[in-house]
């Protein structure tokens, strides 16, 4: 009991160690949120290009669409085929090689890496959603004179988004937890914060269990928010 008490003291109170955790949560959330936004934008774009290409009859595919589709395919193959940590290492030690190791630079690098990575997975999730919408919805939109883009925007994407929300939630949770590997470039996120505290106090139990609990809480909060969003979007399904 005494050892746990002193463990708590050393982990959180001593030398204002709690600030490592607070600052860590901030960095983790910052990277997650911006990577999420970037991933969503990239993913939806790629998904639309890929499904526009697949839905267009062969003789009507323009050269631009073909090139874009090819680029998207390469992107998906490379990003999904290499480990996230390797992508991050390349981004930081190769692309960002000449930058100083400030928090700002590292956060920007991490956001870009995780955003690009997440975008590849979001793209396939959103594409599966687009493909799951009955062909008749697109035909009805087009038969009224709406363009492909407008039909996508007002009819297909909203329905697709609703269908893939659970899968997107999964991706978001994975993203939040995966940000812990930014420790390899030295960014002081939640995990790195705990590692520093462990190194300073020679106490492993409480810092690591504490961040596990913090991650868990953040994921639970996220799940709850996603649940609310899903119920709201399901409004049109209530008989």
């Amino acid at each position: 009991m005494e050892s746990i008490k002193s463990g708590f003291y050393q982990t959180f109170i001593l030398d204002n160690n709690y600030q490592y955790f607070i600052r860590g949560i901030e960095i983790t959330l910052l990277v997650t949120v911006f990577a999420l936004v970037l991933g969503l934008v990239l993913g939806v774009l790629v998904a639309i290009i890929r499904s526009a290409h697949d839905q267009q009859p062969k003789n009507k595919r323009g050269i631009v669409l073909r090139v874009l589709n090819l680029l998207c395919k390469v992107y998906l193959t490379v990003i999904r085929g290499t480990p996230m940590m390797v992508q991050l290492l390349i981004m930081w030690f190769v692309v960002w090689a000449s930058s100083r190791a400030t928090d700002g630079n590292m956060v920007r690098c991490a956001v870009l890496s995780f955003g690009i990575n997440s975008g590849a997975y979001v793209a396939e999730i959103v594409r599966s959603g687009i493909m799951s919408i009955d062909k008749g919805q697109m035909e009805a939109g087009r038969s009224l004179g709406l363009s492909y883009v407008k039909t996508m925007r007002f009819i297909i994407i909203p329905q697709a988004f609703k269908n893939v929300l659970p899968a997107l939630g999964n991706e978001l949770i994975t993203l939040l937890k995966e940000t812990s590997i930014v420790t390899v470039i030295g960014l002081k996120d939640l995990t790195k914060g705990a590692m520093i505290v462990v190194a300073n106090t020679y106490q492993a139990l409480i810092p690591y269990v504490a961040i596990a609990a913090i991650y868990l809480t953040m994921v639970m909060l996220l799940t709850w928010l996603l649940g609310i969003m899903e119920r709201r979007l399901r409004k049109s399904d209530i008989r």
């Binding site: 009955d134 009805a140 038969s143 004179g145 049109s236």
Partner: protein, 240 residues
């Protein structure tokens, strides 16, 4: 109004439509009947380019529908289409289903479109469903709303692709009733259907399609009482 010249459509090796010529005049109600797989739905879907014809030309109101870089979206605004499976937009309420196209294509303001939507809903006695979602409606209600959704665009011609085939028998009547009302109001209509009663009563001309060609076309009286084509005689003996 619609001129079809030498229209053909193949899916892979399967020739679904071969060298069809047709002319649909303003105010006509053309009903197309035929066995399944005869190409009648494909023919109808070619008219507004939901299917890309393999060869041949279609001209609507002086504009070539099949022109390689024609403005198909603009042409489709004047050609309403009603589908077998209704295809109401599942994510929008009934009222918004009707308003979407006129508002997005800037033909009406939001207020005008809303007024028009309510007028159309009153026409089919469904004004109390304005804020319902499609899943909450019966098949017959959905199809009547799909029809007025097309009407909101003030089309010059309406294409019907087996509009009653997916309905429960007791709901067929209400949809046919609305189609008759449209016909009486002078709408130009092209209807693919299995409802021979409707063909007999409403059509000004009936086409019989089989194997991708128009085997016979005639006034409904002649078509049903003195069919000349052997295949048509056989068909009518089975369905009547």
């Amino acid at each position: 109004m619609i001129y079809v010249k030498d229209l053909s459509k193949t899916f892979g090796d399967n020739q679904v439509i071969s060298h069809i010529d047709a002319h649909i005049k303003p105010g006509e109600k053309v009903v197309i009947v035929g066995p399944s797989g005869s190409g009648k739905s494909t023919f109808l879907r070619c008219l507004n380019l939901l299917e890309q014809p393999t060869s041949g030309t279609i001209t609507f109101d002086g504009q070539e529908v099949t022109a390689p870089h024609g403005d198909i979206n603009h042409i489709r605004q004047h050609m309403g289409m009603v589908f077998q499976h209704f295809n109401l937009f599942a994510n929008l309420t009934v009222k918004k289903n009707i308003m979407l196209a006129p508002v997005q294509l800037k033909l009406m303001t939001k207020e005008q479109a809303e007024e028009e939507a309510m007028r159309l809903l009153r026409l089919v006695n469904l004004e109390d469903k304005a804020d319902s979602y499609p899943v909450q409606l019966s098949g017959g209600q959905k199809q009547r709303i799909a029809i007025v959704r097309s009407l909101a665009m003030k089309p010059k011609v309406m294409l019907f692709d087996e509009p009653t085939s997916a309905l429960d028998p007791e709901m067929v009547g209400e949809v046919l009733e609305l189609m008759k009302k449209l016909a009486d109001d002078g709408m130009t209509m092209v209807v693919v259907t299995h409802e021979m009663g409707f063909a007999r009563e409403v059509a000004t001309r009936v086409l019989f399609m089989d194997g991708g060609v128009i085997k016979e076309e005639n006034t409904p009286e002649e078509f049903f009482s003195h069919p000349r084509d052997v295949r048509l005689q056989e068909f009518l003996s089975k369905v009547l």
